[in-house]
């Protein structure tokens, strides 16, 4: 072993990682070479100093404030994430609730209003003129189920017991349409009829005989509300 090889491998003399043959050769060189012996002695001294330096700092730990800061950051981060998740869940829940509400509302509206609208879109039914041969009698037009809740409905016009409104002429049967409406009794006053003030606020069903000019010509109180009318 020469001095250069000793400088590379010899400093690890005595450590477990060095081959025994290399160690033996290095020790032989150490005995023969005073320069390498001095180098080795210096190294042993330095290694001891390094060991002391290592021991001095072996117990060092990061100050407690570092952990405190990190935990604070950890809490902040995960709190933010939780809040965001909660907001997301809440947002979707509200959106779903609103959508459900509108769906139910629309379904209700469709169930109750849909058929009425359907009738309105079928003017042939509404404006079907009377075609029966009997003078004063009007054609039978049946209203769809539930239509009694509508403001304007088609009524049976078979009975013919209409009362002419003041100032109106009996319409020709082929030009007349019977329309059933729900109104407050007081509204009959506007048609020129007398109304009992005690019952003026009552809701009643009335059949109107409407001429081709769109104006009511005669009125009839159907059997259901006849008992309550004057």
């Amino acid at each position: 072993m020469n001095c250069e090889e000793f400088a590379t491998a010899g400093l690890d003399l005595g450590s477990a990682g060095i081959d025994s043959v290399v160690q033996r050769v290095a020790r032989e060189h150490l005995r023969e070479c005073p320069h390498c012996a001095a180098l080795h002695e210096n190294w042993l001294s330095l290694r001891e100093d390094l060991r002391v330096l290592g021991a001095e700092t072996a117990e060092l730990e990061a100050p407690a404030r570092v952990e405190m800061r990190l935990r604070q950051e950890f809490r902040t981060k995960h709190k933010t994430v939780k809040t965001q998740r909660a907001a997301l869940v809440l947002g979707w829940s509200v959106a779903a609730a609103v959508a459900l509400f509108f769906a139910v509302t629309w379904a209700n509206w469709y169930m109750h209003r849909g058929p009425g609208l359907a009738n309105k879109t079928q003017p042939a039914l509404v404006h079907t003129p009377t075609t029966t041969g009997n003078a004063g009698s009007l054609p039978e037009v049946s209203a769809p189920p539930g239509s009694e809740l509508n403001d304007a409905i088609l009524a049976s016009n078979g009975s013919g017991d209409f009362t002419l409104l003041p100032g109106s002429m009996p319409p020709a049967p082929e030009d007349a349409t019977v329309v059933r409406v729900q109104m407050q009794r007081a509204a009959l006053g506007a048609l020129g009829l007398t109304v009992n003030e005690e019952h003026a606020g009552d809701w009643i069903q009335v059949d109107l005989l409407v001429g081709d000019d769109g104006l009511p010509q005669a009125v009839r109180l159907p059997q259901t509300s006849a008992g309550t009318s004057d």
Binding site: A7, T8, L11, G17, L39, N42, W43, L46, R47, D49, L50, R51, V52, L53, G54, A55, E56, T57, A58, E59, L60, E61, A62, P63, A64, V66, E67, R69, L70, R71, E73, F74, R75, K77, H78, V81, K82
Partner: protein, 201 residues
């Protein structure tokens, strides 16, 4: 043992990622001390080391997915991150101030030595330690980290190579160069007083 430790780290990291603060605290306590020591020994400053350790764990809080389990142990990963931070710190400020700072409590780390020695001997040893410390801190970073890990942390070459993610041969050569530089520096430092004393005599 290593595998158990790694499994424990992985389990803690998973819990921590789900928001378990205790798991994170345990993870921190398992790894902070060696990282802090490494940073102190590399930078020579406890303040810098404190910031570096904080940065390393901050990264773990904010981006836990940066650690890939398949690429090595969490300890090695954290060492790697700390090493990058240390290198950046050394580029910015080559050396802040001497390592001769007492711990947080203000106590000296070796009080028993102080009690057993004469003041002259204590002063001599203290000066010697200071010389070694300065010499270590003046080594180029790549040699310094090899010396710190193998001589101060007393890691094996294999462990140091895993920690620095480089071949064992690289560690050997860096350590060799580091030792040679240290010896040369200390020889100069120690010769100067001798010559000064000889001149006076």
């Amino acid at each position: 043992m290593q595998i158990d430790s790694q499994d424990r780290d992985d389990a803690l990291l998973k819990r921590s990622a789900k928001g378990d603060e205790r798991a994170f605290a345990e993870l921190y306590r398992r790894h902070q001390a060696p990282l802090f020591r490494f940073a102190v020994r590399m930078t020579g400053s406890t303040w810098a080391a404190e910031e570096i350790v904080q940065d390393v764990f901050m990264m773990l809080v904010r981006e836990p997915k940066k650690y890939d389990v398949t690429r090595g142990t969490l300890g090695a990963f954290l060492y790697g991150v700390a090493r990058n931070r240390i290198m950046k710190h050394l580029e910015r400020a080559p050396r802040d101030f001497s390592l001769d700072e007492a711990g947080e409590s203000g106590r000296d780390v070796h009080p028993q030595l102080q009690e057993q020695m004469t003041p002259a001997r204590w002063a001599e040893l203290r000066e010697r330690r200071e010389q070694v410390r300065s010499a270590v801190l003046e080594l180029p970073p790549e040699f310094r980290e090899a010396v710190v890990l193998c001589e101060l942390e007393e890691m094996s070459y294999d462990e140091a190579a895993r920690t620095l993610d480089c071949p064992v041969g690289t560690i050997r050569s860096r350590l060799h160069r580091g030792r040679a530089l240290l010896l040369a520096k200390l020889e100069i430092l120690r010769e100067v007083p001798k010559r000064a004393n000889a001149g006076r005599g």
